[in-house]
């Protein structure tokens, strides 16, 4: 056993991803910003977690570090049984392709590819066909069967996000990270996406971590984690929109 592994115990098999004493510092000296200041958190398999916090609380940084898009200054993050710090760029890319799904706030799709090609993209890049039955089920569930040959420019914003969610699900990743997935949508489309994400967790056992600032969106999750100044300051299980809003107000005081 190496010292790294002794410092952070082997992840539980029920844990999809987690961070141990995660620090992220930008800049040096007076302009130093501590985006993450010792975050330890884990995300259980088959759960839908929302991360909330004011601007600058470090919620997006945490998401990026967990997903292997950014690296920590200190501490460790893992996806499944893999510690990200031990991987080089190619291996991290591979991990993102196979173990991680992404839904961004906007610009989720490659404009030159059709909806189907966008959904299949991570598998196509890896040169595998994926689980056809599962993919068909995902497509049926998002209700896009008749729009598969359309390009993103021919889809509405809501439809585009549904394609993005379908892509994240298609490769059956260990965990899906969603960064304000409904931020650019009207409330009707947003509600559809959120219900769909909750179904993916409930019915298919998917694990989703979502960053949001919208208490209504957070209420779709099983658990809400509150961040402030780069630290986990609170959390709440089975949240309601009102409960979350109250908690935010308390934290703001």
């Amino acid at each position: 056993m190496t010292s790294t592994e002794t410092a952070s115990p082997a992840p539980d098999s029920t844990v999809a991803a987690g961070a141990t004493d995660a620090h992220k510092v930008y800049g040096v000296g007076e302009s130093e910003v501590r985006a993450l200041d010792g975050v330890t958190i884990s995300f259980d398999t088959g759960r839908f977690t929302a991360i909330m916090g004011p601007s600058g609380s470090g919620k997006s940084t945490l998401l990026h570090c967990l997903a292997g898009l950014d690296s920590l200054t200190m501490g460790a993050v893992h996806i499944g049984h893999t510690y990200l710090a031990e991987l080089d760029d190619t291996e991290i890319t591979e991990l993102r392709r196979t173990k991680v799904g992404f839904v961004f706030q906007a610009f989720n799709l490659i404009p030159t590819l059709t909806a189907r090609e966008n959904i299949m993209l991570p598998m196509m890049l890896g040169g595998d066909k994926g689980d056809t039955a599962w993919i068909d089920e995902v497509i049926a569930t998002v209700g896009l069967a008749d729009r598969l040959s359309h390009r993103p420019s021919e889809l509405s914003g809501g439809q585009q996000q549904r394609v993005a969610v379908a892509r994240a699900l298609a490769s059956q990743p260990t965990i899906i990270f969603a960064d304000e997935p409904t931020g650019n949508l009207d409330s009707q489309s947003g509600a559809e996406i959120l219900s769909f994400m909750r179904r993916a967790v409930r019915e298919f056992g998917q694990t989703i971590v979502m960053v949001t600032h919208d208490p209504v969106a957070a209420s779709y999750a099983d658990r809400v984690v509150f961040l402030a100044d780069g630290r986990v300051v609170d959390e709440m299980a089975d949240p309601t929109a009102e409960g979350v809003l109250d908690r935010i107000k308390q934290l703001g005081e």
Binding site: R96, F104, F107, L109, P111, L113, L121, M124, L125, R167
Partner: protein, 850 residues
């Protein structure tokens, strides 16, 4: 916004986009430096040679030489004049010094017996008394004096490692003889003369070894101090025999310079054509880069509009940016051009052309041209993008999609109109030919220009289907990176076609040259097959022709059944200058097939002349008629028409026998080439050996069998194609640079997209691959359009050329294949930087990009 703030904004914006600025500047720089280089090179060479000839002839007051009846004084072949005339001239009052001068063929041999060769420059033997006023200057040792002594030019001595005191063998028309090298000489400041070799003898020795007998070429005179030049010239004129003249030293220098300047002008014009092609290609790149970057700056420009800048101010800002940048790049281009010219001189000298020390002449005209090309093209390129920028509505700051209106319909119509006008002008120029050479240049050149512009504009309409078709195998082979390459190459057809256009033009010119050259070559092969029945063609490497001794030796060989030398001279018939060929009348029928339709070789042997049927028809001549020829030496002769022939591809339009030729002209006999035929039943291998062995004494001769001769001719045409391609290299390089710039800008535009692809699992290698193959698809697209357009142009050119030069139109699949392979590599090269940029993007930053 004041003028000052416009300036400030323009400067800031230039600095902020350094990469793009450099890209445009490189395109301007390359175009300008090629144009300036061509002018500077031609001007400098011209000045150098004019100076050199002025210096060589500085101390010569008068020259006596044979006069010519017609034609160009500077390149005429003059008959020799009797040495005895010198005594009479020397006796004329006012003549101080008289120097007879003789110039003939002399081949220097190395100690191992091989010939000292040149790149086609002449091998000269001349006479010199040692008088420093007679043009030559002594470098080492002393002038040759007496039999057995020679001096050679310093350039040759240095190159071949000869030193004063060495024994040196020289081969002349009289034979091979050993000399002692007693000195090295130069011409004015130069160590040698344009690659020629000089063997310098004293007069007595020269007359003897150069085989001149009692004749010299010219007398060079110096007059008494205080004597009046015109008076002395007049006195000499009085005593000169007919067909001789006396001219001033200044005129000699002028004529000599004029002769070489004709060549320099031709060469300079050739270079300039390629320079303008390069500039034209640069214009496409400049235009494309401006168009793209203004698209990318849409928000910024809209914001300027939103805060109160008028459309006019935005337009002026863009124009000012372009102006400043092009001015700087043009300045650098002028400096680059001077270096380019110097580099060319160095290259020529490395190739053995021995140019004298060249000054650098930067004429005002050159600077004006540089500004017209550099600043002019840039300002023209920026008109459309600047006008578009001025029309950006302020609201586009918030909604970029409102920025541009579609222009495609108007563009299509414009493209069709421009292409149609271009094709019409081009064809009119080639086939109708109004206004002679100038008309041809204007119509065909202008038409070609419009044709390229029109095609470039129209190619955007086929860009999508063609790039999709080209991308299909890429997609099949490379999977997702291939799909992305294909989709990206076809997603913006206008941009793809614009960035491929520059390459399209370069490839079109190469393809047109290839079709033209292949047609020329195939015609040549056909003509040789048909017209040359001789088995051997013997030529001289230095293009000075050879001694009649060669033909005489071959005639004595039992292995050969027919031998004829071919000579040529000029004559006037019916007031027009014409080339007259001479051959052995009795052997000609066995060696060349000229398709005689009436008359025969016997009448030719009897002093008659064979005439080509087109010429005969024009002049109303028939076999048996008499035609009056005036030769350059002034002799007029009436010759009976011995026959009419139909095929003039090898022997020209007029043919006389050697005897007739020798009767008319007193030029030292030189054979341009000798053709020979094997006797029946002689094994070719034995014949080859016999011919080569018999000519072993003449190391400068090139003996070729019929097949080798054909190969050599083909080789020369191929070489021409290589030279043209090499000259287009700059244009093609800029075109590839253009693809690279466009692609880099596209990659920049697609930052988010690339970030997303990387986030969902595309690795660096796949990212590089997709950009790389996108570049390949774009450049192959340009090459395909270029090959189609260029081949059509080449076919038109080949058809337009008279049938006796090109009678078949050929297309070379090998060349086309090479061009396509080249295009793939060009694409790979163009993608080096953009693909590196794309794969090394910070994923997080890329995703966060607006």
């Amino acid at each position: 916004m004041s003028a000052r703030s416009t300036l400030l904004l323009a400067r800031k914006s230039l600095r902020a986009r350094l990469g793009r600025t450099i890209a445009i500047a490189v395109a301007i720089f390359a175009g300008v430096s090629f144009v300036v280089g061509s002018f500077v090179l031609a001007d400098s060479l011209r000045a150098t040679f004019t100076n050199l000839f002025a210096e060589i002839n500085e101390n010569i007051d008068l020259q006596v030489r044979a006069s010519i009846a017609f034609g160009d004084e500077s390149v005429a072949e003059r008959e020799p004049i009797p040495l005895a005339l010198g005594d009479e001239i020397a006796a004329v009052e006012g003549v101080a010094v008289i120097e007879p001068f003789l110039q003939r063929y002399a081949q220097i041999l190395r100690p191992d017996g091989t010939a000292v060769t040149t790149q086609g420059a002449p091998l000269l033997g001349v006479t010199w008394s040692g008088n420093p006023d007679a043009g030559l200057t002594l470098r080492d040792g002393r002038p040759a004096a007496g039999p057995g002594e020679v001096a050679i030019d310093k350039a040759t001595a240095d190159r071949e490692g000869f030193a004063v005191g060495d024994r040196i063998e020289i081969l002349t028309d009289v034979g091979r003889q050993e000399f002692e090298l007693v000195g090295t000489i130069g011409l004015a400041d130069a160590d040698g003369f344009a690659g020629a070799t000089l063997s310098v003898f004293d007069l007595e020795t020269g007359l003897d070894v150069l085989g001149a007998g009692d004749q010299v070429d010219v007398f060079e005179l110096q007059i008494d101090e205080g004597a009046d030049l015109a008076t002395v010239q007049e006195r000499i004129e009085q005593i000169l025999p007919p067909r001789t003249e006396v001219i001033t030293g200044d005129q000699v220098a002028e004529e000599a310079a004029q002769g070489i300047n004709q060549f320099i002008d031709l060469f300079g014009t050739g270079l300039l054509i390629f320079a303008f092609v390069t500039a034209f290609v640069s214009a496409f790149i400049i235009n494309n880069v401006f168009a793209i970057t203004i698209g990318q700056r849409l928000r910024e420009l809209a914001l300027l509009r939103a805060v109160g800048a008028s459309g006019r101010q935005v337009r002026r800002m863009i124009a000012l940016e372009a102006f400043v940048m092009s001015l700087i790049a043009t300045g650098l281009g002028i400096i680059g051009g001077i270096f380019f010219a110097r580099l060319m001189v160095a290259l020529f000298n490395a190739a053995g052309l021995g140019f004298p020390e060249t000054g650098t002449v930067l004429a005002l005209r050159t600077v004006v041209m540089a500004l017209l090309v550099g600043v002019g093209i840039t300002m023209l390129s920026v008109i459309v993008p600047a006008r578009r920028a001025a029309r950006i509505p302020p609201v586009a700051a918030m909604h970029p999609e409102l920025g541009f209106a579609a222009l495609s319909a108007r563009r299509l119509v414009g493209g069709v109109v421009v292409t149609a006008i271009g094709v019409t002008m081009f064809l009119v120029g080639l086939f109708v030919r109004p206004g002679g050479g100038t008309g041809l240049a204007f119509f065909a050149g202008g038409g070609g220009l419009l044709l390229f512009l029109g095609t470039a504009s129209l190619s955007s309409t086929v860009a999508r289907p063609v790039t999709r078709a080209l991308g299909w195998p890429v997609q099949k082979l490379l999977g997702t990176p291939g799909t992305l390459a294909r989709e990206n190459a076809s997603r913006a057809p206008r941009r793809t076609s614009a960035s491929a256009s520059a390459l399209m033009i370069g490839v079109a010119l190469v393809s047109a040259s290839a079709v033209f050259a292949a047609s020329l070559r195939d015609t040549f092969v056909r003509v040789l097959d048909r017209a040359v029945t001789a088995d051997y063609v013997i030529t001289d490497a230095s293009f000075q022709g050879m001694t009649p001794e060669v033909a005489a030796i071959l005639r004595d060989l039992p292995e050969l059944s027919a031998v004829s030398p071919i000579r040529a001279t000029l004559a006037q018939v019916d007031g027009e200058q014409r080339g007259i060929g001479a051959a052995e009348a009795s052997a000609l029928g066995d060696l060349l097939e000229i398709d005689l339709v009436s008359g025969g070789y016997d009448a030719m042997a009897d002093g008659g002349i064979l005439v080509h049927d087109d010429t005969a028809e024009n002049l109303g001549l028939a076999t048996g008629d008499t035609v009056t020829l005036t030769f350059q030496n002034g002799i007029e002769d009436d010759l009976p028409v011995a026959g009419i022939f139909r095929d003039n591809t090898i022997a020209g339009n007029w043919l006389v026998s050697l005897e007739t030729f020798e009767r008319i002209t007193e030029l030292p006999p030189r054979d341009f080439f000798v053709v020979a035929r094997l006797a029946d039943g002689v094994d070719p291998l034995i014949g080859d050996d016999a011919v080569r062995a018999s000519l072993a004494e003449f190391p400068q001769l090139e003996v070729r069998t019929n097949a080798e001769f054909r190969q050599q001719q083909e080789g020369q045409i191929n070489q021409l194609l290589i030279v043209i391609t090499a000259l287009l290299f700059f244009a093609i390089l800029i075109a590839v640079l253009g693809i690279s710039i466009t692609l880099a800008l596209s990659v920049f535009e697609r930052t988010r997209e690339i970030g997303l692809l990387r986030a969902v699992g595309m690795n660096k290698r796949q990212t590089r691959r997709s950009v790389r193959w996108e570049a390949v698809i774009v450049s192959v697209f340009g090459a395909v359009v270029g090959i189609v357009l260029g081949s059509l142009i080449g076919i038109a050119l080949a058809v337009a050329v008279p049938d006796n030069v090109i009678e078949v139109v050929s297309f070379s699949p090998v060349t086309t294949g090479l061009i396509l392979v080249g295009a793939v590599f060009a694409g790979l090269f163009a993608a080096l930087y953009p693909s590196y940029k794309a794969s090394n993007m910070d994923v997080l930053e890329a995703i966060a990009t607006e």
